[in-house]
C-alpha cells in the first residue's frame, strides 16, 4: 500500500453549512465553539431541557408554497446545504450536476410532520390530512429538496443509522468520490426532533439529563437532545485544485462498522475497531492525531466505553490527545450530530483550537483522558478524528487533515 493516495482519490471539503442552537452559519458556530457557548435550556411548552434553534422561523426562510412541502428537518437541511454550496462556489450547471451525489442522514427523518399530522388525526379526530402530508413526511425528502434546489441530477438518497447517520453520509460520499462514481457530494444531516411525543419516548428510556449535558464528567446525568443540521460539500482534490477552490480540510479517511452486540449498549471492541480502521483508511499514524471530537453523549455507558476504546487504540499516546464533546454546547443533534461535529472538527484544525467539553464539574476516575474541560485550548495539530457511535451498534469514525499547505 502506497503511503499517499493520488489527487483524484483524495477527498477535500470545500463547503460547510451549519444550524445549531449555539450558532447559525459557520462563522457564528466557530465563534460559539471557541467561547464555549451554551445552547442548552428549558424548552418552550415542554417540561424538559433541550438545545433548540430558538427564534427560528420557517416562514421567514421559505415561501408558503415551499414551506407546505417541507418538514422542519428538511428546512434545516436545505438551509445548511445552501450555505455549504455557497461557500464551495460550486455551480452544478453542466456535467458536474450529473456527477454529484446528495447523501442525507437523519435518525428519524421528518418527525415533526408525523407528530402534528398523526396527532391531529388520531388525537383530535380531524377528518382529513394536509394534502402534502406524504411528501413532507417521506424520509428522503430533504435529499430530494437539495437535489431540486441546486439542479443536482446525480444519486440523491437518505441514510439512517441513528446518531451516526450523517457521519455515514460523509463516509459514503468519501467512498463514492474515491471510487470515481461521482466527482462531488453534498453530505450531512438534519434533525428536528424536539417534539412532545419523541421526547416522551426518550424520557421513557430514562437516559435524558434533567438539567444539562456533562460529557465525561463525574455527575453526568445523560444526554440532552438538540436540533440542527450540518451539510458539507466534498469533492476530489484534483477537481478542487483544477477549479481553484478554497480547500477547508481533507476528509482523509473513514470507517463504518457494526457492534453486533446490543441494540442500545455500546461495545468497546466495536468502537475501537472503527477508530483503528479509520486511521488505516486515512493512512494516518496515531501520532499524527491531536484532537478527537468524541461522540461523548454524557450517558454513563457511552462515555466510559468511548474512553476505553480511545485508550485501546492510542495506548499511552491517548494521554496527549485533546478529546472533547461539543454536545455539551449544542446538545445531541442525533442524525445531524456526525456532520455538525465533523464541521466542528474542521474548524478546530483550521483555527488552531480544541473546542471545550463544557459543564465539566469533576473528574470521573474511570474517564481518564484530557477532555479539554470548560475552556477552549489553543492547539496546532494537523489531523483529527470525529467519532459517531449510535444506537443499533452503528459506528462511524471520520479522519480529517488540515488544509494548510494543500
Amino acid at each position: 500500500m502506497s503511503l499517499h493516495r493520488e489527487a483524484h482519490e483524495r477527498v477535500v471539503v470545500t463547503g460547510r453549512g451549519v444550524l445549531s442552537s449555539i450558532g447559525r452559519g459557520v462563522p457564528g458556530f466557530a465563534q460559539a465553539l471557541a467561547e464555549g457557548r451554551n445552547g442548552i435550556g428549558a424548552l418552550a411548552d415542554m417540561p424538559r431541557v433541550g438545545a433548540a434553534l430558538s427564534g427560528y422561523d420557517g416562514a421567514a426562510e421559505f415561501s408558503a408554497t415551499d414551506l407546505s412541502m417541507m418538514d422542519r428537518a428538511t428546512q434545516f437541511a436545505v438551509i445548511a446545504a445552501r450555505e455549504a454550496v455557497q461557500e464551495s462556489g460550486l455551480d452544478f450547471e453542466g456535467e458536474i450536476g450529473t456527477r454529484t451525489a446528495v447523501i442525507f442522514g437523519s435518525a428519524s427523518g421528518c418527525l415533526a410532520t408525523v407528530e402534528s399530522t398523526y396527532g391531529n388525526f388520531f388525537g383530535d379526530r380531524t377528518r382529513r390530512m394536509h394534502p402534502m402530508t406524504v411528501p413532507r413526511i417521506m424520509a428522503n425528502a430533504p435529499a430530494s429538496h437539495i437535489s431540486l434546489l441546486h439542479g443536482i441530477t446525480g444519486p440523491a438518497f437518505m441514510v439512517a443509522t441513528a446518531c451516526a447517520s450523517s457521519a455515514y453520509a460523509a463516509a459514503l460520499g468519501l467512498q463514492m468520490i474515491r471510487a470515481g462514481v461521482v466527482d462531488a457530494a453534498i453530505v450531512g444531516g438534519a434533525e428536528a426532533a424536539l417534539l412532545e411525543g419523541n421526547l416522551k419516548g426518550w424520557d421513557a428510556l430514562r437516559v435524558l439529563s434533567p438539567d444539562t449535558c456533562r460529557p465525561f464528567s463525574k455527575g453526568r446525568r445523560g444526554l440532552v437532545i438538540g436540533e440542527g443540521a450540518g451539510m458539507l460539500v466534498l469533492e476530489s482534490l484534483a477537481r478542487a485544485r483544477a477549479r481553484g477552490a478554497t480547500i477547508l480540510g481533507e476528509l482523509a479517511g473513514c470507517a463504518m462498522n457494526s457492534d453486533a452486540h446490543h441494540i442500545l449498549m455500546p461495545s468497546m471492541e466495536g468502537q475501537a475497531a472503527a477508530i483503528r480502521a479509520c486511521l488505516d483508511d486515512a493512512r494516518m499514524s496515531e501520532d499524527e492525531v491531536g484532537y478527537v471530537n468524541a461522540h461523548g453523549t454524557a450517558t454513563a455507558a457511552n462515555d466510559l466505553t468511548e474512553t476505553k476504546a480511545i485508550r485501546r487504540v492510542f495506548g499511552h499516546g491517548a494521554d496527549r490527545l485533546h478529546v472533547s464533546s461539543t454536545k455539551s454546547m449544542h446538545g445531541h443533534t442525533l442524525g445531524a450530530a456526525g456532520a455538525i461535529e465533523l464541521i466542528a472538527t474542521l474548524i478546530s484544525l483550521e483555527r488552531g483550537f480544541s473546542p471545550p467539553t463544557m459543564n465539566f464539574v469533576e473528574r470521573d476516575p474511570e474517564c481518564d483522558l484530557d477532555y479539554v474541560p470548560n475552556e477552549a485550548r489553543p492547539a496546532s495539530c494537523k489531523a483529527a478524528l470525529s467519532n459517531s457511535f449510535a444506537f443499533g451498534g452503528h459506528n462511524a469514525v471520520l479522519a480529517v487533515r488540515a488544509a494548510h499547505g494543500m
Binding site: 421513557a204 428510556l205 430514562r206 437516559v207 434533567p210 453526568r220 446525568r221 445523560g222 454513563a300 455507558a301
Partner: protein
C-alpha cells in the same frame, strides 16, 4: 400496609425473576439488582410495568442507578403508592369541606 407491601413485593420479585429467569423464591430483598443480572435497561422496563400498574411515577435515571437492590426498589415503590393514597385522601377531604 404490611399486606399491601407484601403484595407489591411478590409482584416486583416475580417481574425481576421473570427477566433473569430464576425461581422467585431465590430473589431476596437484600439482593443487588446487578448481582441478579438485571441491567439498567431491564430495570427501566420493570419500572414501566410497576408505574402502569399502580399509576405512580418512579424517579429513575439509568445513568445514575440509585435503585441498587430489590429492597430499595420495593421501599421506593411502596412509599410512592402510600403517598399517592394520602394525596387521594387529602383531595377527598378538601371536597368534603367544599361540600359542607
Amino acid at each position: 400496609m404490611t399486606t399491601q407491601r407484601s403484595i407489591i413485593e411478590r409482584e416486583l420479585v416475580r417481574l425481576l425473576a421473570d427477566i433473569v429467569q430464576v425461581d422467585p423464591a431465590t430473589v431476596m430483598p437484600e439482593a443487588g439488582l446487578a448481582d441478579l443480572g438485571i441491567t439498567s435497561l431491564q430495570l427501566v422496563e420493570v419500572i414501566f410495568s410497576i408505574e402502569e400498574k399502580y399509576g405512580i411515577s418512579i424517579p429513575y435515571n439509568a445513568n445514575e442507578g440509585r435503585l441498587e437492590s430489590v429492597g430499595v426498589l420495593l421501599d421506593t415503590v411502596v412509599d410512592l403508592i402510600e403517598a399517592k393514597a394520602e394525596q387521594g385522601l387529602g383531595l377527598d377531604a378538601d371536597l368534603g369541606i367544599a361540600r359542607a
